[in-house]
């Protein structure tokens, strides 16, 4: 595929070539990060939206936004944290659309019934209640709990992703779990008898 380069009037060809090479390097670096960061963006979005299709849209949008501003990101180590924030914010924006939310919940319940035919009614109900309870959590607590529940994320990594001290992460997760437990207590039957 032939690439055409638009040369701005007034700038020298050498400077333009250098800029073009810099852009190509930035793009290559972004694409290198893409597989890992795409999963992160998708899971964050899905944790908020509870719908694969919407989460994919949001993840895609987040990644494209991140790409547009990637060259302006000075600290490349913060890329994942930055992407988490973008994805989480976009997912929340989408979630706040009432009509989509209703449709999504209907679709979600149908999807769950299709995808989990063997699971018991109780666990399905618990999952739905858990999703609702998660939605009612404050944003900061929700994101901390969501990131900590993702595979491969230690508390230190969650702290880096949220740009907060590890003690803050611990306390957010603790309060989030307590709030969830209060809401879900009646849905969990005791299975252990001592």
């Amino acid at each position: 595929m032939q690439e055409l380069i638009l040369i701005e009037p007034g700038s020298t060809a050498n400077a333009e070539w250098a800029r073009e090479a810099e852009r190509a390097a930035v793009r290559a670096e972004f694409e290198e990060r893409l597989p890992d960061s795409a999963a992160l963006a998708f899971r964050v979005a899905r944790g908020v939206l509870r719908n694969d299709a919407d989460a994919e849209d949001v993840a895609q949008e987040s990644l494209l936004r991140a790409f547009h501003k990637f060259d302006r990101l000075r600290e490349r180590d913060c890329f994942r944290a930055w992407l988490v924030r973008i994805s989480f914010r976009l997912a929340l924006d989408r979630l706040r659309s009432a009509k989509r939310r209703e449709a999504r919940e209907i679709e979600w319940s149908r999807e769950q019934e299709r995808s989990r035919p063997a699971s018991s009614q109780g666990s399905r109900e618990l999952q739905q209640q858990l999703d609702r309870a998660m939605e009612e959590l404050p944003e900061k607590l929700r994101l901390a709990l969501l990131l900590s529940a993702m595979e491969g994320h230690s508390l230190e990594e969650v702290a880096v992703l949220l740009s907060v001290p590890i003690g803050t992460v611990k306390s957010r997760i603790f309060f989030a779990r307590k709030q969830l437990a209060e809401k879900l207590r009646c849905f969990v039957k005791p299975t252990i008898n001592l």
């Binding site: 690439e3 055409l4 380069i5 638009l6 701005e8 073009e20 852009r23 793009r27 972004f30 694409e31 893409l34 597989p35 795409a38 999963a39 998708f42 899971r43 899905r46 944790g47 509870r50 694969d52 994919e56 993840a59 895609q60 990644l63 494209l64 790409f67 547009h68 618990l126 999952q127 858990l130 999703d131 998660m134 709990l145 969501l146 990131l147 529940a149 993702m150 595979e151 611990k170 603790f174 779990r177 307590k178 969830l180 437990a181 879900l184 207590r185 969990v188 005791p190 299975t191 252990i192 008898n193 001592l194």
Partner: protein, 232 residues
Amino acid sequence: MFCKAYHQSLRDAAASGEALSPVLRKHLASCESCRAAFAEEQCLFAAIDSGLQASANSEVPATLIPGVRVGIAQEPQHRVSFPSWAFIGGAFATAAVAVTLLVPSHHPPNSPKVTGYAVSSTRPIESFPVAAAVNPPQKSGVSVVKGTKWATLVASNNSTQRFPEVIVPPEEGVALLRYEELLHRKQAVVLMASAKSLDLRPGIEPLQIAEIEFVDLKIPALSKWESEDDTK
């Protein structure tokens, strides 16, 4: 049910998922009710954790990364970055337009909606242009810009116009029109006088007038006629 003294601490311990303190461990070992309640609490948190993990670690759709790559590829290869002076210039231009629109016009109520005058005094004037002044008459030296507000720019589509136009306030514009008319009248008088003095007619020969001959008037005598009448 937890014992009252250990209720909060045991619940917190279950929520944090951390190791129990020696005091709590000792109490659980001795209290069956608290042990059962603590097991229930752990079961609840295990259910929450498993639900969270199922939700948080869902499989990434295979179409996501190709979709992003397509999106990146569809972006323009080169986004033209305007230099800062362009933004500054644009801001100044916007501010100038805004100020021009906000400045109230100071026309008398009966004055026409002619607000700006573009004057180029070096061009010859054919007639006083105010009467026929509709955006800008290019043959005249004075262009009257018609509009409800001050004109900030006279856009001349006439590529043959070689003289710069000057924007002046409406009050000064009338005076300038008069001045230009006087100037051109004066120029016309001077031109006529100089043409007379120079006698610039080399191709025309002077009119040749033949000399006039004066001949004596011959008057016939009237006496003959008078004698014939007398005989009758």
